[in-house]
Symmetry: none
Subunit: 133 residues, 4 copies
DNA sequence: GTGGTCTAGACCACA
DNA sequence: GTGGTCTAGACCACG
């Protein structure tokens, strides 16, 4: 799992790490049970403070994507969000409204936006079909 | 243009205002040339600090969506972002990658995500056809 | 809302704060919309590092009990857990199994345990009846 | 006595072992005098470090639930906690306050909480009646 | 070795 | 004034 931080970005470092781990999992690099790089290791690699990595891993754990086990490391969890259906649906709606609005103001057409979404979808490894992810 | 602040939201107030103005423009409420409510008027309406509204209008101006005219108020600009094609496309890609990744981890399927995007697109008033907006 | 920390306790300080805030909300001290003490204020009061209070408030926010608003403070949220029904039920079961097991090994009888639960229930302000909390 | 470790759990392994032994005793599997599996045997069975099992048995001994005899193994002790009545009652109260508070914030009603407790109580084999256990 | 907690203190962003 | 992020560095707990 390759992670790269942009120190110039407006997004906080810990969020960049969170998103990149999420992305890696979504893309199928890293399966349930896989071990993440250790806090100190990743901190050294990215030249950030270990506490910053801790913060990222905490966030990922609270969102139910990984588990942190004292003494042995952090591991990717078996899928299934912890959120209620209502919260999930509301978040999806907000996510898409925001994207569409921003894309509109960037001057893109309906078709261009749909195409960009499809491009995004191609990179993600969805479960083959059926079953609870 | 109706603007509504959600005090339960963790998003900063100025961002909520920015997003709602963007949304209103995208939905076709408010056309180029239309005047936005004055800072003091809107601040009173929303019961927020006038500085917060100023901050929102500044942001919208920086993104090229409105123009602030000394003494006469703020007006919606004609479309056309100042960004280069390359930057625009990169932003669109990032936008969609982020949405897809988050939606995936919320446990939605490809089809559900596409549907949510289409729902979002329906609310926006795209130009009928042609030209660079 | 009175909060008291036991520095001798095995429980981490930030958890003690979290639990006491949860307790205060459950007991009806502090209603939705109420402002919590500011990070610096509470840190001074308890003689702990502000970061420790930040950690507590973060946790409470992630559990959906409060919202933190930059510039204005932290506020108690309107109820409704963010967790899915499955997760909620599983957590309740674990909670009770653990309590019963521990109480058994403390040497209490079925009746004593039930009574202690009822005593605990009396201190909490449940919604009058009906409606989603 | 069947012990099972959940690798998906965030609880430390030694605590999982401790709790399962406690649970097994509470459920009546394993009576006073019964021998626990040897450290090495259990460690192999669960694929964990023998030191981890040692740690669990130490904890159980400190809480007065088992006795470790050099060279012959660990045995379940006769009930009877060493704690004073005052401490015991205070611990029971804390236990139940915590459960009720957490259950409340999970959104459960008084009745649901009582029912969950009763479900928990059913699994435990209390002494038929009378005396201090 | 792993992660978990806490302190101290800097600097930024929001209202 | 509020909270948000990050660093540096100490010390503890788990395996």
């Amino acid at each position: 799992m390759l992670i790269h931080i942009d120190p110039q970005s407006a997004d906080p470092i810990f969020e960049q790490i969170v998103f990149q781990v999420k992305g890696a999992i979504a893309k199928g690099e890293g399966k349930p049970g896989d071990k993440l790089p250790s806090v100190r290791e990743l901190a050294r690699e990215l030249s950030v403070n270990p506490n910053t990595v801790v913060r990222s891993y905490q966030t990922l754990e609270q969102e139910g994507l990984i588990i942190r086990k004292q003494g042995s490391g952090c591991f990717i969890k078996k899928g299934a969000t912890k959120l209620s259906g209502k919260v999930r649906r509301s978040q999806l709606r907000k996510l898409m409204e925001r994207s569409v609005t921003e894309a509109f103001h960037l001057g893109f057409s309906k078709e261009e936006i749909k195409k960009a979404l499809n491009d995004g979808l191609k990179q993600v490894r969805f479960a083959k079909r059926g079953g609870k992810r």
